[in-house]
Symmetry: C2
């Protein structure tokens, strides 16, 4: 059951497609304090707080303070309060069980037992917000009700479940060809190569550098002939450059965000001085969406939207001020002590993503000027919505791959997200796992993290262990930052190991795609904490490093360097499936309880629940190779059956009953 | 057995007091390549590589590349190659078992299977080095041989095993009084309050701010009357200020490092422009050591040496250049794209600890000018040696507390180290544990990490779990950075919980001090990986989150947020001791194997080995309170006995046989 409580003058975020009537009575569970703009709840020691989607720390969010403020935050460390998203949904599960969604476009704080261990306190920046209280029998039922409320999640094409390779640094067609050739020659399956900012003409959106990609459309086709899709990046900001049609047209039509003086606001991103399309202005949004056509027309079928928190390297006035202050220092006393040196450094360090700069520009929402910081968290959402709505117009019958860096709830209907610019840390492998569950709760199903880590230098063992998790995530992509160690799997020693692990992805594809589609269509979770299935099992409630995948599987990746295995808690009897480097599969039944399981570096181990089966294909070098009809099965127990979803993976006839059938052992 | 192999013109580091004759034959184990200045070894998949003291990552160092380069590195993340120390000792344990110590003052790289999983490769910056190959029956025997070679580790006074409280931000006597009063009133034991840089007169070494501490000697006594020792910080760099006696005298006598032009080299640290005492010049070192007298004379009995990598915020010429370049930008094109903006930011970001600046100054070693970068790793060592040697002259019969941030092997004879400016991360709690073992191997026994975390905001549960480890480490100190959340334990909710945990430290003191002293006197490890005691136990060889403490105990702290317990592997039958919040103790015998052990937040759980006992005191509010003679015992098994070491904790009659006696159950 969903109850909406409305306070003040609520901005229409469109996060929820059909808004229920507001309640008039007092809000249950939460102590509302309008003067402090807060909602408070006293937690029981055994309560778990789920949700908050893309954030650091655990599946249980207790013990930290989170700030919903979309941020270009490449340091996903324990002390970060915000990452790229604002996912304002939580479920308190324990003495009382209920869900809360705060429909609010500004900055919001969730103090989940940080200031005081047992106090949950949500604080808004102003008191104009809708609070949804969602009730149900259990956390999982509450989440389903919430997911129904926010509308069906974005559906990716089937080919987007293949293996993708990316790097900031594939600068021309030859680089891409080399990547593809190295995969194909080594028998490592591949379906996508991602193009980072290097493919553009001086970082101008919707352009392609002609020297680097002399005939882009032809090159797109050349790749498709090898069953490879190119997926280019699109940045939020538009380069200020006369003669560049997107800039000229945006200026002419007044589609960019404006400063207090009414003139277009200028910040800088990759190309230097740039403007920000007013994604909250429907006309401007439609216009920006239409720009994707230039790439669709060249055969592109997928995109990733980046820098859309929006990221601002500097605002032009702040840079000018900083340069002036520093220039003055040259003529003054250059003996800087702690305070003076800190002040000097901060002139530069505070240039990027300065909160004050987000107060300097305005949106035009139905003729009303709204200062950006008040609606900050809607920007990435509406950039991706621009694309998603345009795809409905431009290619209504076709699925286009789309995922974004920034997001808030609502955007889940238009695209997935990747988990941002993580690092090559073992800790980030575990964070990838945890976030899968939290993101699913918030409606983001097409998601995954940069395998091997985006920033910092990686190691072969980290990449291999990370793939052993990544083969289960809908978005499966190896991506890395310019200047870091190269990490395409063919650059390492144990090619056989990588082939086996990535090959397993393609054997699992029928099951993974089926589970993804059912989760989307049924407003369900693809990845779940163990506790959702075993609410009375105290141990299961604390497990943060294992997840259920569908009704059939439990995954428990190894995430520690030099480990030869790991502990696994089985809340019930399960069959352990071990896929070894020689392509073999071993099946071992394990009893309920604790187990130490050996997992050599190139093995993949996961667990099949009793009375269940999963289908397996024969694999392939690309999704087109995979036979989704003639399937083997692995089962545990008598009379196991599986509801298998499959469709053509490209069109949108999701509800056709022929897409679902039962498979028996 | 120790064999020395000598290459080139070796700088005398004094890391090893008595240098054995050099070998003439070929070096065993390692493939020596002079042209590449490297030593290489092909590792077996099952080999473990131990050592490297203060560094990130595991007890087993495989899978990363480490650089011995003392660095002011507050981000102890997985991708850091260096922290504050250069501990050039490793043990390869497996197919072949041997130790290696590289006696070398410059920058050295240990690629332990980073570039290629199975290759260990050590690379020097020039080919002037001594390589010690240490052989023995086992890793633990090799380490004992090495420890004997490098000389007896520094011995701290007994009172330094009490609980210490610190914060960058206790700015005056009243702040300190408040800290002490809050501990005493709440019954939380305390023995030391540390003074960070705020106590000094404008960050000038060996001064005390007269406004903040009007009569320092009297205040030191006031604290001592409450059984509290003040422990002030000493920085490496000396403020450039005419009329400041340390500066004036250093200049007059030529005791500071000089630039290429022979004039004193000026870098900046806390006070702004500063000079660096030439710690490698014996005369200058003696002079710097003598400066400690001014504080000893006021009743101070302990110090911590900081910023002695040495940390340099900026070199004056680089700052001037950066300011000039930035000033030019003001007049030029302020449209900075990715490249231009990165270049601009780096002008500022590259100011601090710039490797080129370490090539700009020189030491005077017996009349010979040596460029700093060639002997970089000796600086912190020789600063602490300056103090240690001075204490031998100034207070020969008394133990003075001394620990340092920077270090290399050799310094272990003059002081301990703290584990540097960590963060309030759960991951850093685990790193604290791992480093205890690695540091013990390298001779650093008086050590510990900043409990609760130095940088970033902490949480009550993190602080509590961290104390449950910290009560076992010789250096037990809660320290935090200015601007972070206050983290003195009395600021949190569960005072009873903290009282119980910190109280347990004082009950364990007889055992902990005894184990520390025996480890020092017998060149032994106080903290050991499990594998050292169970070389044939494959599981024990992979355990990275449990340690043996002495011959009696195994510790296994909880290091995950919201965990209610943890897995523990017992390589043999043990008795689990549980100390609960009510002051009670429970004893449970657990069989060899894997266990999931529940550990509520305020419990401390550890394990007693069979046939062993530990003594327990009745506790106390300070070390002076503790009765080290009338001891209870907890034992497991028949006929258990314990070799108990105790002395007066202040003087140096370590070898007196009355210090050791056998305690029986």
């Amino acid at each position: 059951m969903v109850k909406r409580y409305s306070f003040g003058d609520v901005f229409q975020t469109d996060s929820i497609p059909v808004i229920p009537e507001a309640q008039t009575g007092a809000m249950p569970y939460m102590d509302v304090c309008e003067s402090e703009m807060s909602l408070t709840y006293q937690m029981d020691p055994e309560d778990i707080v789920y949700g908050l989607g893309e954030n650091v720390r655990g599946i249980n969010k207790r013990g930290w303070i989170y700030e919903s403020k979309c941020s270009d935050e490449s340091k996903h460390l324990e002390d970060r309060r915000s990452l790229y998203a604002a996912h304002n949904f939580i479920v308190v599960d324990g003495r009382e069980t209920f869900g809360l969604f705060i429909d609010y476009p500004g900055i919001l704080t969730f103090d989940v037992g940080y200031t005081e261990l047992s106090t949950l306190r949500i604080t808004a920046s102003d008191w104009n917000l809708d609070v949804y209280v969602i009730e149900g029998e259990s956390a999982v039922e509450i989440i389903r009700t919430f997911r129904k409320l926010i509308g069906r999640s974005y559906i990716a094409p089937l080919w987007a479940f293949g293996n993708g390779q990316s790097r900031w640094g594939y600068v021309n067609a030859q680089d891409v060809r080399d990547v593809v050739r190295n995969h194909r020659e080594n028998g490592i399956p591949l379906d996508m190569v991602y193009l980072d900012i290097d493919y553009m003409e001086r970082f101008k959106d919707f352009t392609v550098n002609k020297e680097r990609f002399p005939d882009f459309a032809e090159f797109v086709q050349e790749m498709k002939d090898q069953h490879i899709r190119l997926v280019p990046i699109i940045d939020a900001a538009v380069k200020e450059e006369k003669g560049y049609s997107v800039y000229d047209e945006g200026i002419e039509k007044g589609y960019f965000c404006t400063g207090a003086d009414g003139k277009p606001f200028v910040g800088a991103v990759w190309p230097g001085r740039s403007l920000f399309t007013d994604m909250l202005n429907k006309e401007a949004r439609d216009w920006f969406g239409d720009q994707y056509k230039v790439l669709l027309d060249q055969g592109i079928e997928g995109f990733w939207n980046d820098m859309n928190e929006p990221s601002i390297f500097y605002a032009e006035d702040r840079l000018a001020d900083a340069l002036a202050s520093i220039a003055d220092m040259r003529d003054g006393d250059q003996n800087l002590d702690l305070d003076a040196f800190t002040k000097f450094k901060n002139l530069v360090l505070d240039l990027s993503a300065n909160p004050e700069d987000y107060k300097k520009f305005y949106h035009n929402v139905n003729g009303k000027r709204i200062r950006h910081d008040q609606v900050h968290n809607l920007y990435g959402y509406n950039m991706t919505r621009a694309a998603g709505e345009a795809f409905e117009r431009l290619a209504p019958d076709k699925r286009i791959l789309m995922f974004s860096r920034a997001s808030c709830i609502g955007m889940h209907r238009y695209g997935g997200i990747w988990q941002g610019d993580n690092k090559s840390y073992w800790g980030h492998l575990l964070m990838n796992l945890k976030m899968m569950a939290s993101l699913n709760m918030c409606g983001f199903l097409y998601t995954g993290a940069d395998l091997g880590g985006f920033g910092s230098d990686t190691t072969e063992d980290l990449v291999m262990r990370w793939y052993a998790l990544g083969i289960f995530t809908p978005l499966m992509r190896n991506h890395s930052e310019m200047g870091t160690r190269r990490q395409e799997v063919y650059r390492f020693t144990d090619l056989e190991g990588f082939k086996n692990i990535i090959g397993l992805r393609y054997k699992l594809l029928p099951y993974l795609y089926s589970e993804y589609m059912k989760a989307v269509l049924d407003d369900d979770l693809m990845f779940r904490p163990l506790a959702f299935d075993h609410p009375g099992d105290k141990r299961a409630r604390t497990i943060e490093d294992q997840l259920y995948l569908g009704k059939e599987l439990m995954i428990a990746p190894v995430y520690e360097q030099n480990a030869r295995g790991r502990y696994v808690y089985l809340p019930e009897r399960m069959k352990m499936l071990r896929f070894t480097r020689d392509g073999g599969m071993e099946e071992t039944v394990l009893e309920k309880g604790d187990h130490y399981v050996e997992v050599p570096l190139s093995d993949v181990v996961f667990f099949l629940r009793e009375g269940r089966l999963i289908p397996l294909s024969g694999g392939g070098q690309c999704v087109d190779d995979v036979d989704f009809e003639n399937l083997a099965v692995v089962s545990f127990g008598e009379n196991a059956e599986y509801e298998y979803y499959h469709d053509d993976g490209l069109s949108k006839d999701y509800e056709n009953p022929v897409n679902r059938r039962v498979i028996r052992a």
